[in-house]
Symmetry: D2
Subunit: 329 residues, 4 copies
């Protein structure tokens, strides 16, 4: 039986069963062979990229990245802190001529310490496990050790993530005035379809879908508050089927955690949609993207698709990557 | 008098004069207004990006990034180390069920500590100073303090660096068999032009030029050795005029330091071309790019231009950024 | 004229004058020669250490260190974060036999990223400047560059800080019930003397004085709150003379910032006592020490002095050091 | 049968058996109860500390710490790098008045990133496992996860490691001229006894023994070379019985790895003595100590024992700690 796509029909007392139903129904293990390390990123094909490049008619670039600095939303949960950026050489030193360089050259240099998922990022396929299993049915402990992700590290996606991007501005679609969904609002599959329809845009295989909830707009206005991990609109667990059948390559949101929070259960639960889509569907998820300027631009143009270039950093064995995704019109 | 473009004519005893001649001749200060923070990146216009997108005919993506891990070339010079990537949660832990999460979900998470210029990167405009002056004539100490680059931080380029890329494979052009230039080989302006001519490609305003020397190919074969800071082919100081008059937006090489090493002087000197081009021309420089697969692809296709997407991470106040540049054909 | 030692007599509108009066009155520049790098630590002599060792009669050790972990009080002010401790190898990995070691050996290893003053620490002599001057009258910019403290780095104290410690439990002395001073309470010189007298302990040259306010006891009970940088009892600016004439080697408190907060001015001010005592007196200051167990032990024994061993880590060029000070009875 | 204490009698083809014989013979599991987290540190009692304090007759302190900076011996093996110390505020900035502080105060502040075992350090009890077992017979995976050492973290030793220290200068004892043992020299139990006898010093329960090989003296003279992990004199596997029956509290050397390297086998092996002494005996091991000045002082005084204060930093869950051990005479 196909799992329900109505958020109202979730059994809020039984996350195990609700997750398992979707994990088994939508599991893509083996779909791209036993050695696959890309999951749904495989849906991006050459034709899709040529189509995406064809969307570039104006030559405008919009960065979809939030800032990386100590003024970010992280509070130390599971050692996720904000980035610490420090200088090893500065212009003040150069001007004071204490650097020991010849002929008037001076330099500034810098280092950073940060969680790979502290700001705008991709979750790699090794980021989440389902009952000890990683993407494609591998044992979690065979994939990600203290040395990093030995199998599906994010470096494997270094030459992949350029495709057609589609913005679904659910905030604007559902909240005509504020353009911001309420915390705890669970976006359903039918709402995703309705939003696409209202915007006049289609979604197909290999696309990268960007869902704007308006959560970041509010954080920008009111301060970070509980942006990192607290209540937020986001995708309902019941969208798992939609995420599977649309054959999208990846999805990203303007929220900390992509799916609705609190999660849709009355018993202890944590990111159930992640548990379905990363290890089972093999879906790459983006979080903490800044979709506000993009949303304004799309609305002005009445155009909701664009070339999206969002390759991860080539960090060997990483289970996530800081990124600066760019939309090109 | 226009500075010579012949490497043989450099006065190897007088770096101050050789640098000053070029700094004053090619200085772009004020060209884009007093408040400019982008320098030659301003040459990338909408038309150029549309042209670049038009080069995407196959839908192929090639990453131009080296790896980010502890097996890199850095040796600690001025505290430039290789990245240290560590896990805060792993699949081994998830499988052993010690993470405290409900309903069978497990996770892996990671952090990184690294110099921003430890591997494939852009130098920001605040990276180099000339006699205490930064890009656009600002005092170095007004621009880059211990808090970072307060004026020209790399975050300002977050929505900019998507353009037409052109590969000039000097290694292949000058060394028909090995495709690798000898250490210390100073590439001249006329050789850059001859290479473009031989390849049948033109270079114009707003392009991003990638110069392959073959230095990385050798490091890959022989081990890192002195890749970071040691001898290498690279651009001659005498190419400053070429870099200025072509009105390119940025340039990148497959070497540690972009310009020839040892530098072209018999007295103590250090990266004189940097001193001319970053603070004076306002040129963004890429270093440690991996141009080998790109070179093979270009040669096979007999096509040397492509869409290049290489936005920096949005790190507030950074004077450099790790990147994963991608060429799209 | 000797500056007043009554907190009530501070001109709360004129920090410049109040600071300058004490800086000039109590300045120790040149007292230990032009090359001095130790300041008042010079007061610890061999005789003092023998006396201190003679205080060890029970063989009991009490650590005066708070914990170093992500659950600390720091909130990112000026990039002061809590420590991030991560594992590069774990027992979970060892047990799963994925480490590649022979004959059944397994290992765990770890790394840390932290501000040197994130938890229990010494301020080095290069930590604070007075109008651009560092300890002993040196120009601040000649002492601490982006390379670190080139002159008075904390490594110079590596073989020094073992002496007689004396606890002054001002919390207990002034608040008989709660043993906790109120936030904003400015401890005066006469109260320091009265506390010593009441405890029956003398303070002399070379001693290290530990002042307990009770601020940490409260943070332990109520949560960190504004422990880092917020309101707290602490030493009044007017104690500068006492700190000078007692010829103590160093002083430490159980608070974030040693001196009373808010500072004793109605106009913008920041740590005025630091400005007097570090660059001018050459006093080494300890902050964020845990004096609670020590206080209980001292009260039980009616003994307030002990051997104190608190050498800094030998971090080259550091302006502060994490420490684990131990009191031995 | 008691395992041989002659290095010549080791079966160089069978590390498993040689290790197992000693692990089972000298195992201290349960000796201090099921909940023990200190191992042989329990041997330090109050009487021992009073005895140690009684050794302080001159008031002289000698730091036994190497430096912590980027010029250290580490080369990245298993992500062990040298410390990276960076400034977040400097005197150069203060002097240029760009820090935004009132009334002429300026400040310098700093951060560090480092492996906890990059320089002078203690190995914690969670650092090494034997066939998946940690100290006191616990499962390695129950003790050290990605969150750190949940049971025997080094913070438990914060109030413990002050005792009598005894230097055994094997370099001087066996090499009268150079005072440096040859690489690969395996120190035997009988040599440890003979050295103590020659020096006229006894070793007993609760002492902390410091073994000088001269390896650091050579590194200081010749450069680091292979100091970290390469050939070195050190303790033979056959000293396990001596380490057990002397009931010493801890041991430290001036080498990277405490035991002789290469290890005493002709087949692949790695630190077999660690495998015996940490998880089985519960011995705390110090590595990379600087014993050279101490050795000179001891020889001059003809005194080989002293008060040793070497508490670890209170880093929650750490399996090692950077330290600055001090000897007080």
């Amino acid at each position: 039986m196909t799992p329900s796509e109505s958020p109202a029909e979730i059994d809020r007392a039984d996350p195990e069963a609700e997750i398992a139903a979707r994990a088994t129904s939508f599991r893509n293990w083996g779909r791209w062979g036993d050695d696959d390390v890309l999951g749904t990123l495989n849906f991006i094909d050459a034709e899709k990229r040529v189509e995406a490049a064809g969307l570039v008619r104006e030559g405008t670039v919009i960065s979809l990245s939030q800032s990386f600095d100590t003024d970010g939303p992280q509070k130390g949960w599971r050692r996720r802190t904000n980035p610490v950026h420090t200088m090893t050489d500065t212009g003040v030193d150069a001007e004071r001529e204490n650097q020991g360089f010849p002929h008037g050259i001076g330099g500034a240099d810098d280092v950073i310490s940060m969680p790979l998922q502290c700001s705008t990022q991709w979750d790699g396929l090794g980021h989440i496990f389902d009952h000890g299993f990683a993407w494609n049915g591998r044992r979690a402990g065979d994939v990600v050790t203290s040395e990093g992700d030995l199998v599906t590290g994010i470096e494997h996606a270094a030459s992949v993530i350029v495709s057609r991007g589609v913005l679904l501005d659910l905030g604007r679609h559902l909240e005509h005035e504020s353009h911001e969904l309420a915390d705890g609002y669970a976006i359903s599959a039918s709402e995703l379809d309705a939003c696409a329809l209202a915007q006049g845009v289609t979604i197909g295989r290999g696309d990268i879908v960007l869902v704007r909830t308006g959560r970041l707009s509010r954080a920008r206005r009111e301060g970070w508050g509980e942006y990192a991990g607290g209540p937020s609109a986001g995708l309902s667990l019941t969208t798992a089927g939609w995420l599977h059948r649309t054959e999208i390559a990846a999805i990203a949101t303007d929220t900390w955690g992509f799916e609705v929070r609190p999660n849709e259960f009355d018993v202890p639960s944590f990111q159930p949609l992640h548990q379905v889509v990363i290890p089972n569907i093999g879906l790459t998820i983006g979080e903490m993207w800044d979709l506000d300027e993009l949303a304004r631009s799309c609305a002005e143009r009445s155009r909701w698709d664009f070339l999206l270039s969002a390759p991860p950093l080539r960090i060997t064995g990483a289970v996530g990557s800081p990124i600066n995704p760019v939309a090109v019109f």
